[in-house]
Amino acid sequence: MLKILVRRLVSALFTLAFVAVVVFAVAEALPGDACTAYLGRLAQGERLDNCRASLDLDQPAAKRFVHWARDLAQGDLGNSLKRKKPIEEIVGPRFRNTVILGTVAALIGIPLAIVLGVFAGVYRDKIPDFVISGVSLLAMTIPEFVIATLLIFVFAISFQWFPAVTILPTDAGIREILPNIVLPVITLAFVMTAHILRITRASVIDAMHSEYVKMATLKGVPFRRVVFRHMLPSALLPTINIVALTIAWLLSGVVVIEKVFNYPGLGTLIIQSIFDRDLPLVQAIALMFALIYIAVNLIADLLVILLNPKLRSQVSGEGG
């Protein structure tokens, strides 16, 4: 187990380094830099040179990258070029907001998806399955911003039940945030439920056709017990990974939805920082996203190993 963990952590480190290089290169490749973005039409001549000199932008890219990487290794993310503040201070509250939105959506969406998926799988090709599968297919095919816009149109504009956009300071308290995020949460839950549901349904159908479920039935085990004791523990294993991916997706700033609802999370921040050519900020956020993906997937994989008796014994060496 420890061996796997170490191996995975080492490979995570390489992934992060790779992401850092790619993000830096992409940001460099964008036309313009922080100074042209900041100065706008005035960006020329001496003014531009001064600005660049003050931000060290006149140095060659490779040199800047080495500097940045060295600081990063020491835990220093650097300063935002535009806001002239340490990046931690900018990212911190934004990340908290994203976590709040993601957590609420996950708490609603994941259990809902699993329950509906199991239900559809067990009653495959019956009416509940048709309804559930149909709606989930719809949710998967319609882009999330369309759903978001529809929800805004119906519930914010026609009925005026919920606010259309969140107009909140970045450091608002949870109590203030919650009533404001009903629509984004519904949108997120809708989209993620569809994905998890499809995977759950497929793996439940597989398990329902397995020899061991047939055997349990022929052992005289009542249907509900067959489902809960024999089928579900194996059927839900594959869903762990897709749930992990969904959580990573939620935490790494659901950019489009945050933008539509103007939610002060990481997603809106990264868009803004790209507009500003605020390179250190973009890099920091991108690295964070990568870190979240790696961490969540690692946790999911370890969980699968722990829950699957077959893998568990391969790792710890119980029997053959």
Binding site: E211, L218, K219, G220, H230
Partner: protein
């Protein structure tokens, strides 16, 4: 106790019966063997006895009676009480039928909880007792294990224990020993026989293996294409069967008493669809006459509890003596020159540790899957390789084709030419000489390619043929494996198991090899199809002079095709020599145990259980590989020293510390 008459329909294009008016009765304490080829509906029949129909199946008519209940009319509650309680199933593949996420103990406990009134503590004791009854070592430990941590034989025992938990009156056994090694098979069958006797349980034993059925059954029912063709006392059916199908089936089984390719039952079973106006077996029956195609014969009562579905009586049919026709297969004379030489080969799957890779020293901790194996294949001869699963048979083949480089020893073609360790560095001409026929034609033929493409691939590769000529040659090759050119444009999915295996053989022969490696080529096939494939292989050998390395766990099959035999245990040779010598005393203790464990469709033959069926994961560090399971172990010497090769007549060699005189008895 039961009177069953069930017909089943497939919905869709009208009723497509899988079972047609089957009825029989099983008395308490009696064992009925249900035999038939794959697709004959025997598993479906077994499940209908529990009132269970697989998805898509519908009952057409008839009913199953058990005790006072009708299994198809009983309510859910009654069914749940009967299933697993009164009537229990022991499934074909216990490994897949045990729930992977529950421990063995939990699963047996569940059966107890549902079908007895025991308290949790009593149940816990009972679980251990049940596991003890099926002779599991360390039952308390096993109960805490998950199914995947057990061997195939152990899983099957757990399934038996679980079935016994409900104190059943009827046990349904759906191919319970298929896929197990002979020694394991014998253990399980003896266990079932004893349990049936001591507990007065009725058993319905479904199997395609007449040898296993012969061992346990009081009566035998033969199923052909969904209908009973013959049912009666087992001695009578095995010794003097009346129905031509039963006779053909018995004749197609390779026997230990003679080196001959078994009789081939021509043709295939008819499709299940459509009304049946004639005898279902008529198209394949050598004795078919006019009445056979004119009307469907009825089950004719021919004695006490003996019925046959045939228009004719036994004496009205052809001479039944033709069943024991002597061998037609000419034995090869003294083989010419050596083709493949394997010298002191050792193979390991474990990788060298980092340290020993640096120091270049031999890693002592490494487990050698195969060690010190040497043999020679001569031109045009067949070498049989036998051994239980895990004996390294397939590993040796992998080394010869260059998929698994040996870590010691060398492999040479034609006496002098050494073969490269890895297949990708071997020259094309060298690859061409050695071809492989795989065990499982389902997974070794690309399902998206047509038969023509599959067979043309080696033609294009080795002979640089153009598409057109390759296709013509492919058609010729198909003919030589007894398939018509209509098959050229089919995909493997449209072929039956036997047909697929023929395509696999045709592909191997397309390269015109000097040596064909046959890895368990018939073990996935029905006996009648197996007979056809064996016949084909021996004909091809006669025509093309190819040599075979024929790997199989089935000793009777090896007996029928091989010239010389290698007996392997844990990747070490135990015994080698001409087939007649190896299959006759003196035996190596391991060969002897295997031989005596063989089940033959002969009611008078009793297999002997000599060795434990425990699976060894690794060979012992030193001494004789068979030391832990040997029934005749003479002493400590076996643990210390590798057994010497004892030369007997005709190149027969036994690796054992015991003298041939002792081994002879």
């Amino acid at each position: 106790m039961e009177n069953l008459s069930a017909g089943v329909v497939m919905p869709g294009c009208g009723p497509l019966p899988i079972l047609r008016n089957v009825s029989f009765r099983v008395l308490p304490g009696e064992t009925l063997g249900l035999v038939g080829e794959s697709g004959s509906g025997k598993s479906t029949l077994a499940l209908t006895m529990m009132g269970y129909l697989s998805e898509g199946l519908v009952k057409l008519g008839g009913d199953v009676h058990f005790g006072g209940h009708s299994m198809f009319e009983a309510g859910t509650g009654t069914l749940q009480a009967l299933r697993g309680g009164e009537i229990c199933l022991i499934p074909q593949n216990a490994g897949q039928s045990l729930t992977p996420t529950m421990t063995i103990g939990q699963q047996i406990d569940e059966a107890l909880m549902l079908h007895t009134d025991l308290s949790p503590r009593e149940r816990k004791r009972q679980v251990v007792e049940l596991l003890e009854q099926v002779r599991m070592p360390e039952p308390a430990v096993i109960a805490r294990r998950h199914p995947h941590a057990l061997s195939g034989g152990q899983q099957q025992r757990c399934a038996v224990a679980m079935a016994l938990a409900g104190r059943p009156r009827v046990l349904l056994l759906d191919e319970p020993t298929t896929g197990l090694d002979v020694t394991t098979q014998v253990h399980i069958l003896e266990l079932l026989r004893e349990l049936a006797k001591s507990r007065q349980v009725a058993m319905v034993f479904v199997s395609h293996d007449l040898g296993a059925v012969a061992r346990v059954s009081d009566r035998i029912a033969v199923l052909y294409s969904g209908e009973l063709v013959e049912i009666g006392p087992s001695t009578r059916i095995l010794k003097s069967p009346e129905h031509p199908y039963t006779r053909g089936l018995l004749a197609s089984i390779p026997r230990m008493d003679g080196a001959r390719v078994p009789e081939v039952l021509p043709g295939y079973p008819p499709p299940l669809a459509g009304p049946r106006e004639r005898c279902a077996f008529a198209p394949r029956c050598s004795a078919a006459k006019d009445p056979c195609t004119a009307g469907r014969p009825a089950l004719d009562v021919r004695g006490e509890r003996y019925r046959v579905r045939c228009h004719f009586r036994r004496d009205e049919l052809d001479d039944p003596g033709s069943l024991v026709r002597p061998s037609t297969r000419p034995r090869n004379g003294v083989p010419a020159s050596s083709l493949l030489e394997v010298r002191n080969v050792a193979i390991t799957y474990s990788r060298k540790s980092l340290l020993s890779r640096f120091t270049g020293k031999e890693d002592r901790a490494r487990v050698l899957t195969v060690d010190d194996v040497s043999f020679t294949v001569h031109r045009g001869e067949t070498i049989g390789v036998v051994g239980e699963s895990g004996s390294g048979k397939s590993t040796i083949l992998r080394a010869i084709v260059g998929l698994q480089p040996p870590c010691r020893g060398d492999i040479r073609m034609e006496g002098s030419r050494p073969l490269d360790d890895r297949v990708d560095t071997r020259p094309l001409a060298c690859k061409k000489e050695i071809q492989l026929v795989f065990q499982n034609p389902d997974s070794s033929l690309n399902p998206r390619k047509t038969v023509a493409e599959i067979i043309s691939a080696p033609l294009e590769l080795y002979f640089g043929m153009e598409r057109g000529p390759a296709r013509e040659r492919a058609a010729q090759l198909l003919q030589s494996v007894r398939l018509t050119e209509h098959y050229l444009d089919r995909t493997p999915g449209q072929l039956s198991g036997g047909e697929k295996q023929r395509v696999g053989i045709a592909r191997a022969f397309a390269a015109e090899p000097k040596l064909a490696l046959c890895d368990e080529v018939t073990s996935a096939l029905d006996v009648s199809v197996q007979a056809a494939v064996l016949d084909l292989l021996s004909n091809l050998q006669r025509e093309m002079g190819v040599a075979y390395l024929f790997v199989s766990h089935d000793l009777a099959t090896v007996r029928s095709v091989a010239d010389r035999v290698l007996v392997l245990y844990q990747g070490r040779i135990c015994e080698t020599g001409p087939v007649e010598s190896v299959f006759a005393p003196p035996f190596h203790p391991y060969t002897g145990a295997l031989m005596r464990a063989i089940l033959e469709p002969d009611p008078d033959r009793r297999p002997r259980v000599e060795i434990k069926d425990t699976v060894e994961s690794a060979p012992p560090r030193q001494g004789c590989p068979f030391q832990r399971r040997c029934p005749h172990k003479p002493g400590k010497i076996c643990d210390r020293e590798a057994p010497p090769a004892q030369e007997l007549a005709n190149g027969h060699r036994i690796y054992c510390h015991l003298s041939p005189a002792i081994l002879h008895s």
